[in-house]
Symmetry: D2
Subunit: 131 residues, 4 copies
């Protein structure tokens, strides 16, 4: 599991006086940077080996300004060339939202999806969520 803790920013609220739902996918993306580094240790932008295929977020409770939030990140499915990331947003000891993102390993030379190497698989499996 990867963990990222930070404060809600003022501009991330909206006129309903809670955190805008549109903010979560950015928080979750940021919390996946350690996974990006497993595939691309230097974050080389010219040879980015991952494509985002889809995301889904379930909103369970309102998220508010003034309390730190923590994103917990696990691998929840590991296929041949694609995998799922499961993430939870915690605030004040409660799960406020959860998300699943499907990413595809991509080879920029062949412009096709590509099998995930054994070395990378081993690291990802060490962050598997047991269900």
């Amino acid at each position: 599991m990867f963990t990222d803790t930070f404060d809600v920013r003022f501009y991330e609220t909206d006129a309903l006086k809670h955190v805008s739902n549109t903010v979560l996918v950015g928080w979750f993306e940021s919390a996946r940077i350690p996974i990006f580094k497993v595939f691309n240790p230097t974050l080389d932008l010219d040879n980015w080996p991952l494509i985002l295929a889809s995301y889904k977020v379930d909103f369970l409770q309102q998220i508010y300004l003034g309390y730190p939030v923590t994103v917990k990140t696990w691998i929840s499915r590991l296929g041949n060339s694609s995998f799922d990331v499961y993430q939870e947003l915690h605030q004040q000891e409660e799960v406020k939202a959860s998300g699943i993102t499907t990413l595809v390993h991509f080879d920029y030379v062949s412009q096709k999806s590509a099998p995930i190497s054994e070395e990378v698989r081993a690291v990802l499996l060490s962050h598997l969520r047991e269900t």
Copy 2:
């Protein structure tokens, strides 16, 4: 169907030189404002009658700066108190992404989900996507 057409903003791109995936949920929210107005014609922020329960976005192709985008918005499911919105992001005559958002009609007095009125149902049904 509701339609919203606009240009990609420069800051909506990311370092991979395409539109950031995190932008889509904001575009889709903005394209749902006509639906908010069906429930809340004056957009009264103190009695907001809708809660977002979940969203899912599928990314089919890269989206780029320099070409206008169009969001097409339909109702794809109409339950007793909740409903789904189906949206497509078009650019250069192609569907680049699609999304489904589940919204719940909410009564702020009782603090519970509430049935959708016949009047609102009729308007929503006129935007139903036939599948």
Copy 3:
């Protein structure tokens, strides 16, 4: 003068129920895209010829959701290699905010600021704000 008109997006509000001040610089950047095209007609990202040196925004009145906004954009100073862009944000027939952005013409080969060509100067001068 260049003009850009659009609706406020819901997520651009903040918990004070008006438009977040942080949004304006993105709106103003987007309204400067026609100026970017004067220097770089195809918006070629690999040879971007402009650097942003500074911006200043003055907030005169609250900006709200529900009413379209218009950004008006002029050149307000034209130096040898740098220039200023003056922009106003109009909503409901009032100037709600104004901004000045200083941009520098940059040569990526020499990695230095570079004089603005006569051809580009002529176009910029046609958008000069008379003061």
Copy 4:
């Protein structure tokens, strides 16, 4: 001086492969939350006592993904009802950008600017930048 350190988020970059200039004002706003709390300890959104009058940001060098950033925040001017906040954005031991924001103390009952109390002045003065 107040200090806020965090990582650059992926979506905060733009197609020029550095951090978008539009992000800085949000970072700076977030780093001013301790100042908001001096005026409004519970961050009560219904009686917000500060109005942003203007901001200016100077961009000195490119800011990149992959290295933490620190915002340092001082009071740089303290008037009767308004004050200036000076902020610096540091990355890799260099000042990459700096900003000045003018805020006005506001009384929501009278709907006018209002003198800053002695108690608040004392706290703000303890964060004064000596120049």
